[in-house]
């Protein structure tokens, strides 16, 4: 007595289809019951259970049970209306293409192509299927392109922290250039103190920073993009205000408006080293974190300041622009 039930369901697991998983369930006395997994058994119908094969739906059933490869075969053959040319374009031999098209027609359940000994023509059903068949192929191409562009750094989102003073030097030219060359990247700009930028970098809240150096961190790497001289900021009625330049030592007796060290510690230390090199330690009258506040306090006569040039660019550096 045959012990294994009809297994015809398994025969459609052909090439071009995702592998089909089969679950064998026990079949006894004409009814299905919950089963354990096992192999087919044989023996007397009264004592030995028979086994029935149940096929689990392939995962790509949501695409009508069709694979991208099958759709590609169909579209190329529809465009070439010639098996040999289509097979050549697909890089396969003609027999596998013919078999694949027959399997596709079996899967869809209609005839898609009229074949004669010399020509191929789409049936009405084939013509109806052609445009919808092209869409998932185009989508797959776009998906692959998107992945490649993201991997190449050509698309995605980038959050950039920047120091306010960078707005008056390299930042505008850099952002303009980057946007022109990477139009698919969405940039978010966040003005922050240098300390906040470095903390947010380490917390992955921003991706990259344009910050005041030097950068002293084992986790971070800083690439110097420009070096800028300090400038004296004086009230307009100051005795030195009419000069083009003054030695820093000339400001030794002044009260200074400075930014707090925690805003940009290493930058602050560079500034203090410049004061020491000039032979004095500055008397700090006021502190302010933002450069425009510092300039305002200087204008109000509350002291002098040493800043990077906030009004006319970075030491005259000519940042290249692109047409």
């Amino acid at each position: 007595m045959s012990a294994v039930g009809p297994a015809s369901e398994t025969t459609w697991a052909t090439s071009g289809w995702t592998a089909v998983a089969a679950m064998i369930s026990r079949f006894r006395n004409g009814s299905h019951r919950p089963s354990h997994r096992g192999l087919a058994q044989s023996g007397s119908a009264s004592t030995i259970p028979q086994w029935h094969i149940t096929v689990i739906e392939p995962y790509h059933k949501s695409m009508g049970g069709l694979s991208l490869r099958q759709l590609e075969f169909f579209v190329v053959l529809a465009e070439e209306v010639h098996y040999v040319r289509a097979a050549k374009r697909l890089g396969i031999a003609q027999p596998p293409l013919s078999r694949a098209i027959r399997r596709l027609e079996r899967a869809v359940g209609v005839t898609l192509l009229d074949r004669t000994s010399r020509s191929v023509a789409l049936t009405a059903a084939g013509r109806a299927m052609l445009a919808p068949a092209r869409r998932p192929l185009a989508e797959a191409g776009r998906a692959a392109d998107a992945a490649v562009r993201a991997a190449d750094g050509e698309s995605g989102e980038l959050t950039v922290g920047f120091s306010a003073s960078a707005s008056f030097s390299v930042l505008p030219a850099l952002i303009g250039r980057y946007r022109r060359r990477h139009p698919s990247v969405r940039l978010t700009l966040v003005e922050q103190t240098t300390s906040a930028q470095l903390a947010d970098l380490e917390s992955s809240l921003i991706d990259v920073a344009v910050a005041r150096g030097p950068i002293i961190s084992p986790a971070l790497h800083g690439t110097v993009v420009c070096r800028e001289p300090f400038q004296a900021v004086l009230p307009s009625d100051h005795a030195l205000a009419l000069r083009d330049a003054v030695p820093l030592s000339a400001l030794a007796g002044e009260r200074f408006v400075l930014f707090p060290r925690h805003v940009a510690p290493t930058f602050y230390d560079v500034l203090m080293a410049a004061f020491r090199a000039a032979g004095f330690s500055p008397t700090v009258g006021e502190e302010a974190a933002e450069w425009h506040t510092i300039v305002g306090l200087v204008g109000a006569g509350l002291g002098v300041a040493s800043l990077l040039n906030p009004s006319s660019g970075s030491a005259g550096t000519r940042w290249p622009s692109e047409a």
């Binding site: 390299v170 850099l174 990259v208 950068i215 971070l220 790497h221 420009c226 070096r227 290249p320």
Partner: protein
């Protein structure tokens, strides 16, 4: 002199970050070259 730096994680910058840093360093190099040409002319 004060430095302005483009800063990122030391290891394995993402392609997006690497692209931004590359643009910044190229721009800086072009700016230096322009400055040098102008200084030579002066």
């Amino acid at each position: 002199m004060a430095e302005l730096c483009v800063v990122h994680f030391r290891h394995h910058p993402s392609p997006l970050v690497a692209g931004f840093v590359r643009e910044a360093t190229q721009l800086a190099a072009e700016a230096r070259a322009t400055d040098e040409v102008v200084e030579d002319q002066i």
